[in-house]
């Protein structure tokens, strides 16, 4: 299955990566090439095989639902590109 320019544009949008319009044809052909490589998987008979969820047979561990951490506002914000008054700051989200 090949990826056309519209699909490439949609995938870039879903991935939240700005791709200039001029680069879309190149991207579409790169992605098509890789998807083409994956098509080999269609040769495999997977009838009755469950998709793997865990490579080691183990049940996901549970823990008590208690507070184990917190009160680290400064550490949490230390690497933020823009933090003000104890919050992450971002461009206006709601009009």
């Amino acid at each position: 299955m090949s990826i056309d320019i519209d699909t490439a544009r949609r995938v870039a949008k879903l991935a939240r990566i700005a791709v200039p319009e001029d680069n879309l044809p190149g991207l579409a052909s790169e992605l098509s090439n890789i998807i083409g490589f994956m098509e080999q998987l269609n040769e495999v008979d997977v009838e009755g095989v469950e998709p793997m969820t865990s490579v080691t047979p183990q049940a996901l561990k549970r823990r008590d639902d208690v507070v184990t951490d917190g009160g680290q506002q400064e550490a949490v914000l230390a690497n933020a590109p823009d933090a003000r008054e104890g919050f992450f700051a971002v461009p206006k989200v709601v009009e």
Binding site: A15, E30, L31, M38, L41, V46, P91
Partner: protein
């Protein structure tokens, strides 16, 4: 006496305990080797002051007489590990300036043992690559060169800086991580040992995530014994990683008897590929002969779904990456793009990610987005996970017949030149992982051992694959192989 920076961990341990050297001596020797080797571009964030401080504490601990094996050993740490207060960028522009407020569990385990961190090591961006050419820091360079040539070669990837640093004796050993071969392929390209343990042996907490169901940390060292010592120091159960195993961590070094008499070694016929390099094929056959001479039984085995491992991997790994890398949004850490007047939050995400991610990472995130998108999830992602189950079953079936370990080449070729793969399509680059990627999909331990030099004078490696959780037995097989091969070559110093 050998230069201190070229010691193995085990030799340094013995010398430290005997009082023949100090951790400060070892650390100084490594720091000056690093200063001399700027051209290799292996260390990308150096921490000399921190290292000398840690050396002082290690010496104090050694003086008390009950120091652990790794106490006083200077290491390089791959940039993928979060290290408290020290740049941890995963070789990406998007994490520019990021200094974690916490330490990864693996690097913390090493620090608790008294190891010394010399600095952070170059790698492919987010560990996505097989040549270290996708790094924001620029290429790491292989200390090995082809005979009679001064062309710069790749140390492999993604743990390229780790491989280059260990091979050039800039540190005694280094941490690596392996999602599809990122420890074993660079180890093979640089003539060192690289071990990827069983999935779950090491905590992934604090290791920048690429593909969570495949990622594992492991040691990159100058000998199999060193890999055994360092593996034990890195591994632990960690409540902060629910996939980390509660199984006890054994003394892997104690398993190194070199006795493999009566063990069954499988040679998978599917790993014999058309157009395979003659040198690699001979190396593989010689390796099997050596194991036979050491008393092992060599048997032909079949892993019928091998061919589908790469396409399955290149669905699953990008799918997980697209999800893991969603966190780089310019809000909480790292780079944020400069915005134009009127730009809203969506433009901030899109511009930040376009500027912050390199082309290979962008491509993989978009592939992952595509295979997870509505309408394609079943056709690609679920199908790949079903194929993955079959690949694991191939190994289960072979081990059920009594095979103890599997011998394969580590890579289809020796190190290639930097830039040589620039114009080929990305799928060609994927082929580097053809012998290693099955092991990640099946969650097994695998080790690359230097096996000889090819006709260009470059090192090549053999891979051994073990049963799950039996790293000790795997290391013992690798130890027997290492003894028989007797590989002692080092790159001639040109830097």
């Amino acid at each position: 006496m050998t230069a201190l920076n070229s010691l193995t961990i085990s030799a340094a341990r013995d010398a430290l305990r005997a009082g023949d050297v100090t951790a400060a001596d070892l650390t100084s020797a490594c720091l000056s080797a690093i200063e001399d080797a700027g051209v290799l571009n292996a260390f990308v964030h150096k921490t000399p002051e921190l290292a000398m401080e840690q050396a002082k504490s290690a010496d104090a601990r050694l003086a008390k007489g009950d120091a652990p094996d790794m106490c006083g050993i200077p290491l390089g740490i791959k940039d993928l590990f979060c290290t408290k207060g020290v740049e941890s960028q995963a070789a990406s522009r998007i994490l520019e300036g990021f200094k974690p407020e916490y330490e990864s569990t693996v690097s913390q385990n090493l620090l608790d043992q008294g190891t010394i961190m010399l600095g952070k090591l170059n790698m492919d961006e987010f560990a996505m690559g097989s040549s270290n050419e996708t790094s924001v820091y620029g290429d790491a360079i292989n200390p090995w060169r082809r005979e009679g040539s001064d062309a710069a070669l790749t140390p492999g990837g993604s743990s390229g800086g780790s491989a280059s640093a260990v091979a050039a004796d800039l540190c005694l050993a280094a941490t690596g991580t392996d999602t599809g071969g990122s420890i074993r392929q660079p180890a093979a390209f640089t003539g060192i040992v690289g071990l990827k343990p069983t999935y779950g042996r090491c905590s992934r907490w604090g290791v920048v995530a690429f593909a969570s169901s495949l990622d594992q940390a492991g040691p990159m060292t100058k000998s199999v014994r060193d890999a055994a010592i360092m593996m034990r120091a890195m591994a632990s159960h960690d409540p902060k990683d629910s996939t980390s195993s509660e199984l006890p961590v054994p003394d892997f070094e104690a398993a190194l008897t070199g006795d493999i008499r009566g063990k069954k070694i499988g040679i998978p016929k599917e790993y014999r590929m058309d157009g395979m390099d003659d040198g690699i094929e001979k190396l593989w056959a010689d390796g099997a002969d050596m194991l036979r001479d050491a008393g092992a039984e060599i048997v032909d085995i079949s892993l019928p779904h091998t061919k589908y491992a790469l396409p399955a991997y290149y669905v699953i790994a990008p799918a997980e990456a697209s999800s893991n890398l969603a966190r780089y949004d310019g809000v909480r850490f790292g780079h944020r793009a400069k915005l134009a007047a009127g730009d809203g939050i969506t433009e901030m995400y899109e511009k930040t990610r376009a500027e912050g991610f390199g082309p290979e990472v962008q491509r993989r995130v978009m592939i992952g987005t595509y295979v997870l998108s509505a309408g394609f999830y079943d056709a690609y992602y679920n199908r790949a996970r079903r194929v993955r189950a079959l690949i694991k079953k191939d190994f289960d079936d072979v081990f059920a017949t009594g095979v103890d370990a599997i011998l394969t080449p580590a890579t289809p070729s020796s190190a290639f030149g930097l830039g040589e793969m620039k114009d080929v399509d990305p799928v060609q680059m994927f082929l580097n992982d053809v012998f290693t990627v099955t092991v990640n999909l099946a969650g097994l331990p695998g080790i690359s051992v230097p096996a000889g030099l090819d006709k260009q004078g470059l090192p090549m490696g053999l891979q051994m694959i073990g049963r799950p959780w039996e790293e000790g037995a795997l290391l013992n097989h690798a130890y027997a192989l290492e003894k028989s091969i007797g590989f002692v070559s080092k790159p001639a110093k040109w830097w």
